[in-house]
């Protein structure tokens, strides 16, 4: 694929095209996809190995009972959300969860408010229902937290839901509790549902901490929480996510799920169960690792002259590359071709973000150092050549 072809793309298609290009470059360093490089913890792998030796049954569509229970218990333990197994649906990754949520909620003509920039993989799930999404701007000076007044301005009689991703992919922003409370008041006043994608919730950086929208008083009946094992336990390939919602919504989504993919693979659910029943010490180790990487990569990006706010959560830097004098799409392409570093341009996450880059911390520290060195030298050459 040539640059002329790439230039025509945006959203998820752009991301996949760049990943395909990177595959042709043997020493490419991938700071693109949100796929943790760390292996799935050994105790989870061991659970799968022993289950594989025994006969297994196909799980119910809504998920293995024990897994739904463990997920519910953790929601109570970690977030103080009062739920039971009946409020939990196990999905084929958070990705299927978001499709099921949109199908269960949205009618043609409905509107769903989506903070901009966004995880563009939601686009197709929303479009498929015949509903439309209404962008809500977010700002670097707020650390990309959402402004309740920007939400309120866009509420119409057709507003069915608000989609939050906290911590955010791509910005690394979070919804702070004080924002959450204001949003909850709006949701009650205007009667909309809050869909809260908290898949990066285990990775929030000090002084911030994660809080769950469903934990706010009276919100359990208005919030659908989406999460999963992919990011928290380095389990992307296992394809296990979940949705927590009022029971009638779970029943509805399970009915839809019987037509989308049926039950999740049993072995994957057994592995997820081991993760869900653990004391999360592996997550604490992951957190320390990602936190260190975040500092190292942050220093590298500063040295390149990129501008960004410190991420408050998740695996991503959302950096403004205006100072290079090059559009982010051109710059990403150049960094891939010349420096062999894969990062995603902002337009993969929203049409207007042509100066931004999303860069992940999902490589070992020495690789991050190498990536930063390659990028620095490529950008320096660029500046010398007068493009900047």
């Amino acid at each position: 694929m040539t640059f002329a072809d790439i230039k025509k793309l945006d959203g998820a298609k752009l991301r996949y095209a760049l990943m395909d290009l990177a595959k042709e470059i043997p020493d490419a360093i991938a700071l693109g996809r949100g796929d943790p490089d760390l292996p799935t913890p050994e105790f989870i792998v061991e659970a799968a190995r022993s289950a594989a030796r025994e006969p297994m049954t196909v799980a119910p569509v809504a998920g293995m009972g024990e897994l739904r229970e463990a997920i519910a218990r953790n929601a109570v333990r970690d977030h103080g959300v009062e739920v039971t197994a009946d409020n939990v649906l196990v999905t084929t990754g958070g990705q299927e969860g978001l499709f099921l949520v949109m199908s269960a909620l949205l009618n043609p003509g409905d509107e769903i408010l989506v903070p901009d920039p966004r995880y563009s993989s939601y686009d197709q799930a929303i479009a498929h229902t015949g509903a439309s999404f209404i962008s809500v701007p977010t700002y670097a000076e707020d650390g990309f937290d959402v402004r309740p007044e920007e939400i309120e301005k866009r509420i119409t009689p057709r507003t069915k839901a608000l989609l939050l991703v906290t911590p955010s992919n791509p910005t690394g922003g979070i919804v702070r509790p004080e924002t959450g409370e204001k949003i909850a008041a709006l949701a009650r006043k205007h009667n909309f549902v809050v869909v809260s994608d908290e898949i990066y919730g285990k990775f929030v950086w000090e002084p911030y901490s994660h809080f769950s929208m469903a934990s706010l008083p009276g919100m359990a009946e208005r919030v659908i929480t989406l999460s999963g094992f992919s990011k928290a336990y380095a389990m992307t390939g296992w394809r296990v996510g979940y949705v927590i919602a009022p029971e009638h919504a779970i029943r509805a989504m399970a009915a839809i799920k019987s037509h989308t993919t049926g039950p999740v693979a049993t072995l994957s659910q057994v592995a997820a169960l081991a993760a869900a029943r653990s004391d999360d010490s592996c997550v604490r180790e992951f957190r320390a690792t990602y936190d260190e990487r975040r500092r190292i990569l942050g220093d590298g990006l500063k040295a390149m002259g990129l501008e960004f706010g410190e991420p408050r959560g998740g695996f991503f830097f959302w950096a403004d590359a205006s100072s290079t004098g090059m559009r982010a799409l051109e710059l990403s392409y150049l960094l891939l071709k010349e420096a062999h570093v894969l990062i995603f341009p902002g337009t993969a996450f929203g049409e207007t973000w042509s100066n931004h880059l999303r860069i992940t911390t999902l490589q070992p520290t020495e690789v991050l150092v190498e990536a930063a060195a390659r990028m620095t030298s490529a950008i320096a050459t660029l500046r010398r050549s007068g493009a900047a």
Binding site: R33, T129, P246, S268
Partner: protein, 234 residues
């Protein structure tokens, strides 16, 4: 209820389809167990390529070509989360909202997916924009059905575990309109691995692959390695 649901949802409650061959306990064949362990040793715990791991796509494609004398390409084949996802992706991607679907047999297998698409089921093959033809309906019935369809009608041919060799792509003018779907490894104890495939004509393949990616990103990594080894051990 504070949270109201979409109208299509109301139509679906109580119309769940049970996954095929679900009942009872399934022990994976040894080749599949070995593959799971080897894949875990190699750290195969990440997302795979969206359409599925290449060696499995090559294998499935080769088996289909051999059995049905097709010319399907691994690059036009997508590994899905069970036959269920293969059906679903076809129904969402190959019919427009308001379009018409005809099922030669087992309408319950596609009725829910059609509802989610906003498509209608019809008894008349001649009206359909997509016909669903399970191989189990038999060659004669399939030929009769396909003799009635509109020129642009898409055909979803569902292979079952019987060893049939008839394939509708062999009928004059149909090669570019038939998507072949099936389950993987049911006879190898792999029912719990939840894998299927869809093999599409070149033109339809990218859209189907993109929709599958939007729905589930990729199919379960370990299941794919298990299926590869199980199929190779044939």
């Amino acid at each position: 209820m504070v949270m109201s649901l979409s109208s299509r949802t109301a139509e679906l409650i109580g119309r769940d389809v049970p996954p095929s061959a679900a009942a009872g306990a399934h022990r994976m064949v040894q080749a599949a167990i070995d593959a799971v362990n080897d894949a875990l040793d190699r750290g195969e715990t990440h997302y795979t390529d969206r359409p599925g791991i290449l060696p499995l796509r090559q294998k499935v494609s080769a088996l289909l070509n051999e059995r049905f004398r097709l010319a399907s390409r691994p690059s036009d084949l997508t590994i899905t989360c069970g036959l269920t996802e293969a059906r679903f992706v076809c129904l969402q991607q190959l019919v427009e909202p308001g379009g018409t679907v005809h099922a030669l047999a087992h309408p319950e297998a596609v009725a829910g997916a059609a509802t989610i698409r906003g498509a209608v089921l019809s008894q008349a093959a001649a009206e359909a924009d997509l016909v669903f033809v399970p191989a189990s309906a038999g060659e004669e019935a399939i030929r009769a059905c396909l003799s009635l369809i509109k020129p642009q009608c898409m055909v979803v041919y569902e292979v079952d575990s019987e060893q049939e060799t008839f394939h509708p792509a062999a009928l004059p003018g149909l090669a570019e309109q038939v998507v072949t779907i099936g389950d993987l490894g049911l006879d190898k104890g792999l029912a719990t691995a939840r894998l299927g495939y869809l093999a599409a004509p070149h033109q339809s393949a990218p859209g189907l692959r993109d929709f599958k990616q939007a729905l589930t990103i990729c199919s379960t990594n370990l299941s794919q390695w298990a299926a590869l080894n199980a199929v190779e051990a044939l």
